[in-house]
């Protein structure tokens, strides 16, 4: 099962490292990262595979949100289907 992680907030050192470390800890494979900085704001879109994850999608979503709170960023986990169903016929 694939999911999207979106990260948004003020740029600083180690954002990707923190998110990836967290995901690796849950045995989640990162498939793709695209990232940009707009006016000092960090904007990242990450596609991950959670098939082999050691916890449920719900726990991943909660864990990432918590991590976001710790490092001062908004991190959102969403299963990929919501984007596909909304934007594709």
């Amino acid at each position: 099962m694939k999911a999207l992680v979106t990260v948004l907030g003020k740029d600083k050192v180690g954002i990707i490292a923190s998110v990836c470390t967290y995901l690796a800890g849950k045995n989640v494979n990162v498939l793709e990262i695209s990232q940009t900085i707009v006016n000092g704001y960090f904007d990242m879109l990450m596609i991950i595979d959670v098939t082999e994850a050691t916890c449920s999608p719900g726990e991943l979503a909660g864990g990432l949100e918590e991590l976001g709170g710790e490092i001062g960023l908004m991190i959102k986990f969403q299963r990929e289907e919501i984007f596909e169903s909304m934007h594709r016929i």
């Binding site: 879109l45 999608p57 719900g58 909660g62 959102k76 969403q78 919501i82 984007f83 909304m86 934007h87």
Partner: protein
């Protein structure tokens, strides 16, 4: 592959424009709980509801987290109690309402609908018992919602029942006077009620439905408003196209949630109700959409045309997105639950008469309108009769949910709290209609009902 802009777009719709799944409503057939012994009936009812819906709230919450879309309410609707309880040897159905309330509390849903009767062609003994029980049932329970279908395009309007409803609403208002007559907010009357409507207070599980079904109501007036901002000043074709495309996207989200919920609960998927149901939050208002279309306020000349456009294109977009669009799908125009509507009433732009005109072209009817407490029962029945006639003649669903707030007069404000919002009390036409309403009997079905 999902693009960054699409991902952002989706999340903006959710975070900033209040896109949400308003409700997952589980419809439960309770016909086989029937028992002449009221106690046994209640026990079976409680067991059936608590067992069938035990995972509803948890599954709803899980889906919300996994997909990152808020699912605001989890609710239950049951077969109209007047039908299921018909063989009960009892004079009052209040105990049944209490049982529904307890079952709803046990599974954690905020409303349970189906304390209902269908009397469009005539009132059976059981229907009468239910109607007599409504005021007390709504006063002593917290989560029970009630509805009565008074008319249909096929069978006309049961004017005896319409006459009675004025009294039922007044009594409900009196019995819940400590809470600004809140009981009336949990009661709605219909013409052409639909059997798969997931929205309260009118939700019930129709007799033509299967044992259990998942119906989902999607919302998102803010998303439509935002989309229209992008095409400000454009012609009507562009306007309609924009509403349609947006409605399509919103419905697809509902479809996804419905499919997921139905799979996880092992319950067949019923319908998606694509309604633009506002909330009192800023940016979540149908009136704001009307303003974005070019009206100074909801209620200004042009409002009926604007709501017609909105309603029709919401349906067109929704039908393309899901094969099972049902319920009331369209734009809701409740007063108390929409801050733009509240402001329009306060500014004198929106009157009861204009609201009635709007209901001719829109999904529902006179919804969440606070009236002066001393409005006569006959006047309320007259308002209901008008609204039922609109539904009957135009082959559409119409409804009335008005709240004559006990002890308050026009111009005062009443606060219901939460999603029910607050409302200025609207003045009512003071001329008498009691001789008309008092005739009784049934208004025959219109000529175009004769199709076979």
């Amino acid at each position: 592959m999902i693009s960054r802009s699409e991902a952002r777009w989706t999340n903006e719709m959710i975070l900033e424009e209040n896109l949400d799944v308003r409700t997952i409503t589980m419809g439960i057939n309770i016909l086989d709980c029937a028992d002449p012994d009221e106690k046994k009936f209640c026990t079976k009812l409680y067991d059936r509801i608590t067992k069938t819906a035990e995972n509803l709230v948890r599954v709803g919450d899980d889906i919300a987290v996994e997909f990152g879309i808020p699912i605001v309410n989890k609710r239950i609707s049951v077969t109209p109690v007047a039908i299921a309880a018909a063989c009960c040897e009892t004079d009052s159905y209040v105990e049944i309402a209490r049982t529904l309330d307890r079952a709803a509390e046990e599974v954690g849903v905020n409303f349970i609908g189906g304390f209902s009767a269908l009397v469009q062609k005539g009132t059976a003994a059981s229907d009468q018992k239910l109607i007599n029980s409504i005021p007390e049932a709504l006063a002593v329970t917290e989560r029970v919602c009630s509805s009565v279908n008074l008319g249909s395009s096929r069978s006309g309007i049961n004017m005896d029942a319409v006459k009675e409803m004025g009294g039922v609403i007044k009594e409900t208002a009196f019995l819940t006077k400590d809470k600004d007559s809140l009981g009336c907010a949990k009661f709605v009357v219909f013409c052409n009620a639909v059997e798969d409507n997931p929205f309260m207070a009118g939700a019930f599980h129709g007799v033509g439905e299967r044992d259990c079904a998942i119906n989902v109501g999607v919302s998102g007036p803010g998303v439509v408003k935002r989309a229209l901002e992008e095409v400000r000043g454009a012609d009507f074709e562009t306007l309609c196209e924009t509403v349609k495309k947006t409605a399509f996207r919103i419905t697809r989200v509902g479809q996804l949630v419905a499919r997921e919920a139905s799979e996880r609960l092992g319950v067949p998927f019923g319908i998606i109700d694509l309604s633009l149901a506002p909330t009192p939050a800023i940016g979540d208002s149908v009136a704001e959409i009307l303003q974005e279309m070019g009206l100074e306020r909801a209620g200004a000349p042009g409002t009926t045309a604007a709501i017609a456009i909105l309603n029709d294109n919401v349906k067109k977009g929704g039908v393309m997105a899901s094969s099972y669009v049902g319920g009331l799908s369209g734009a809701f125009i409740p007063v108390s639950e929409d801050h733009g509507m509240i402001e329009a009433v306060e500014a004198g732009a929106l009157t009861l008469d204009k609201l009635e005109a709007m209901t001719c072209v829109c999904s529902v009817g006179l919804d969440m309108i606070a009236l002066p407490g001393e409005t006569p029962a006959e006047t309320i029945s007259g308002i209901i009769a008008d609204e039922m006639a609109i539904g009957m003649i135009n082959n559409k669903t119409t409804a009335v949910r008005v709240i004559p707030v006990y002890g308050k007069v026009a111009g005062e404000t009443v606060t219901f709290g939460g999603l029910l919002g607050y409302a200025p009390i609207m003045p009512v036409n003071r001329f008498d209609c009691s001789a008309f309403v008092g005739r009784g009997g049934r208004i025959p079905a219109p000529i175009h009902s004769f199709k076979n």
